[in-house]
């Protein structure tokens, strides 16, 4: 086995797993903060219950995001030490700032929030959850600026003496449009994830006619945030796509399986590829439509994979600069498909309360529980597209993934750790989902007591 391949699988596993929890953290924290603030301003108990119930589910999810995040901080040095030496001068900075600015903030104030209900004034207690929200979202910003540098390196020069990349313009690093577009895409994605989470769980209880007032209210708030969030994700994604064409044309072309530079280019709705994943067998095309996707901008002739490959060979030397086209093509379609479905469902959820209760409601609500999966599918496929679309580069145009590995690392060691992470992560995922489902189903009573008593059947624990 190849330590590079194993290390890539390990990075994929740990990162996808980490990002399974992060979007819900990023979005749900705003729900909790808004609910608690309304409670402080109006004194209505309903909103305190809302902060506590959704806050409980937030906490079960949050812990997993934190502990899997430590792996993210360490594995650049563990598996990718050549990368770390080469770009550490630049890449280390946003990581360190993320820790100092964001991790301390969110972890300290979350500790105070969990334990401080009776120790702080109401206003101060609500302020702590706002600081948690600020901390977690700042954390997203800085890690995405770090990733933005890998996608589109800026503000650096290659030091001829040391042969490594060094930072020359911190301002450029933290204003990198690639990183900011990722951030503007990720934040509404988090809101949409949280919204569908709240919609799904609320629907579960509404269908069963339980705690109607509470879950109707939650449902309505979530429908608004869900619609805004999923539309904003799409808009941000659109502008990200336009910028991607400019700075990473290969990734853009791969996501559309666009081989030859032509104007105007056809859009491929679906396509089949051979086993290499880099050759197309068949596709269903709409003529001219690829150029329409970039509207309102007229991007002209869109460079094709074959032309970019030839250009990169001329610029960087011989090699295969084509990412796994089949994977990126389909990830893009899965992401966008899930996103469009989310917009439709959120709009429907917004319209539902206008229709007649309860006959119309309960029929439409049955779908909502399953829709919780949609943002998770979109989030995951989006990241797979972003990270594999950049290949064979680890830092676009500067360093190839195959050159970035720790030179001392044996395949056996990585295989061992890969299996170890996989087993532990699978066990924790099972426990986490078990708890989330249990608390979500148990409803409000569970938020006020720590543990759902296993001796009680679920139906009785709800009251």
């Amino acid at each position: 086995m190849d330590p590079i391949l194993l290390s890539r699988w390990q990075f994929a596993l740990t990162t996808i797993y980490h990002f399974f929890f992060v979007p819900l953290t990023l979005g749900l924290v705003w729900f909790v903060a808004i609910a608690e603030t309304i409670y402080v301003r109006t004194g209505q108990q309903l909103y305190k219950q809302m902060a506590r119930f959704w806050g409980k589910l937030f906490l079960i999810n949050f812990a997993m995001g934190v502990v899997t995040g430590i792996v993210q901080e360490f594995q650049f040095g563990m598996n990718w030490s050549t990368y770390s030496r080469y770009v550490g001068d630049i890449f280390g900075a946003p990581l360190a700032i993320e820790g100092l600015l964001a991790f301390f903030l969110e972890s300290t104030f979350l500790g105070i929030w969990i334990f401080g209900w009776d120790r702080l004034s109401k206003g101060l207690h609500a302020a702590t959850i706002w600081l948690v929200a600020l901390g977690s979202n700042l954390s997203a910003l800085f890690i995405l600026l770090a990733n933005g540098f890998m996608q589109h390196p800026v503000g650096y020069r290659i030091n001829p003496a040391s042969g490594r990349a060094e930072l020359v313009d911190f301002g450029a690093l933290v204003t990198n449009p690639r990183g900011w577009l990722l951030f503007l895409h990720t934040i509404p994605a988090g809101l949409a994830t949280a919204a569908f989470f709240v919609l799904g769980i609320s629907a579960y209880h509404l269908v069963r006619r339980q705690q109607l007032e509470f879950f109707k209210k939650s449902f309505q708030i979530a429908a608004i945030i869900g619609l805004i969030g999923s539309v904003a994700v799409g808009v941000a994604g659109h502008f990200q796509g336009i910028y991607l064409l400019e700075v990473q044309p290969m990734a853009a072309a791969a996501s559309e399986a666009h081989w030859e530079t032509v104007y105007p280019a056809p859009f491929k709705v679906v396509a089949l590829f051979d086993l290499t994943g880099k050759r197309e067998i068949w596709s269903l095309q709409i003529p001219y439509a690829l150029n329409w996707l970039y509207l309102p901008k007229d991007v002209g002739a869109i460079p094709g994979i074959n032309q970019i490959q030839a250009e990169y060979v001329a610029r960087y030397g011989p090699g295969d600069y084509v990412p796994l086209v089949a994977l990126d093509f389909w990830m893009f379609r899965i992401m966008v498909g899930a996103g469009l479905l989310m917009i439709a469902l959120a709009a429907y959820a917004l319209y539902l309360p206008l229709s007649k209760w309860p006959e119309r409601w309960t029929r439409g609500l049955r779908w909502m529980g399953w829709a919780i999966a949609l943002p998770y599918i979109a989030n995951t496929s989006g990241w797979i597209l972003t990270e594999t679309g950049r290949q064979p580069w680890i830092v676009h145009g500067l360093l190839r993934t195959e050159e970035a590995l720790s030179p001392t690392l044996g395949a056996g060691t990585v295989l061992f750790s890969l299996i170890g992470f996989a087993l532990v992560y699978a066990a924790l995922m099972a426990a986490d989902v078990y708890l989330l489902v249990r608390y979500a189903r148990a409803g409000l009573a569970a938020a006020e007591q720590e543990a759902v008593d296993p001796a009680l059947p679920v139906a009785r624990a709800q009251r």
Binding site: L95, T108, F115, E166, E450
Partner: protein, 341 residues
Amino acid sequence: MSTELLQTLWFVLIALLWIGFFFLEGFDFGVGMLLPFLGKRDEERRAFINTIGPHWDGNEVWLIVAGGATFAAFPDWYATLFSGFYPALFLLLLGLIVRGAAFEFRSKDAHPRWRSLWDWCIFAGSLLPALLLGVAFANLVRGVPIDADKNYTGNLLTLLNFYGLLGGVATVALFLLHGANFLSLKLAGDLHGRTRRLARRLWPVAFALVTILMVATCFLTDLYSRLGLASGVIPLSAVVALLLAGSFLGRGREGWAFAMAGLAIILILVTFFVTLFPRVMISSTNPDYSLTIYNASSSPYTLRVMSLVALILVPIVLAYQFWSYRIFRQRIKADPRSLTY
């Protein structure tokens, strides 16, 4: 500021982050290791967890930031250390992951088997990182095989030498004492007396191991040959601080006992970092291959930017972390109504 000054500043800052981590997470780990043994009933175990409940996550961030700061200021140190100590760090990560999840999960289901499972996860997730960090730090000052390309050429077994293992065991013993001291400060009623007695029983073990570790540091590292007799002052004061901790324990002055054992932790780490300076990883293959703050650091520009960031943020972080300890300064009883975790 000159480049050398910036490099020294970042060495000191990273040392401070590690010291902060060992002091704070030290009692966290201690509480975690004592949990399944000391808590007889479930409410008692929950009371133990609640003493560190609001803080453990924030304490752990000190480690993450130490890692991040090392990456930013000394990329070669980060790259060599993390790739070289791969198996140890993998186990450390598993420990921390399981431990963090266990804190959040354990009280969310009342089934005794469920709770006992996570309590043992907290135990293992506290013991393993404490042991591994001690082994790693001792090996850092002892020196490890590093080649001319700054790559570690040993394996996991290379780290398991006498001095490394001594470092690991002494760290575990000291954290147990630190944890027991912390518990006796934070708990009320019956639990308070029980943890105080336990601290007294743990003290001789910790004292003996730390004394051996400090003596060994003078003989098995190049501390003495580089700095002469004056170098003995810091390890000696670590031993004295721990001696004082024992004396305060005997007289029931638990606040002072906690402070003195904490001071011993700080002084042991100061000993380590003084031995290292200005090196960050000592090569046992050839002293010339050692990584130093000069040949492992980031560019002066990055160091300047990061210094400015740290100068602004560190005081703010210290202020609100201090505030969080003040909010939760009251003692905790094993009363189900007042427990959160």
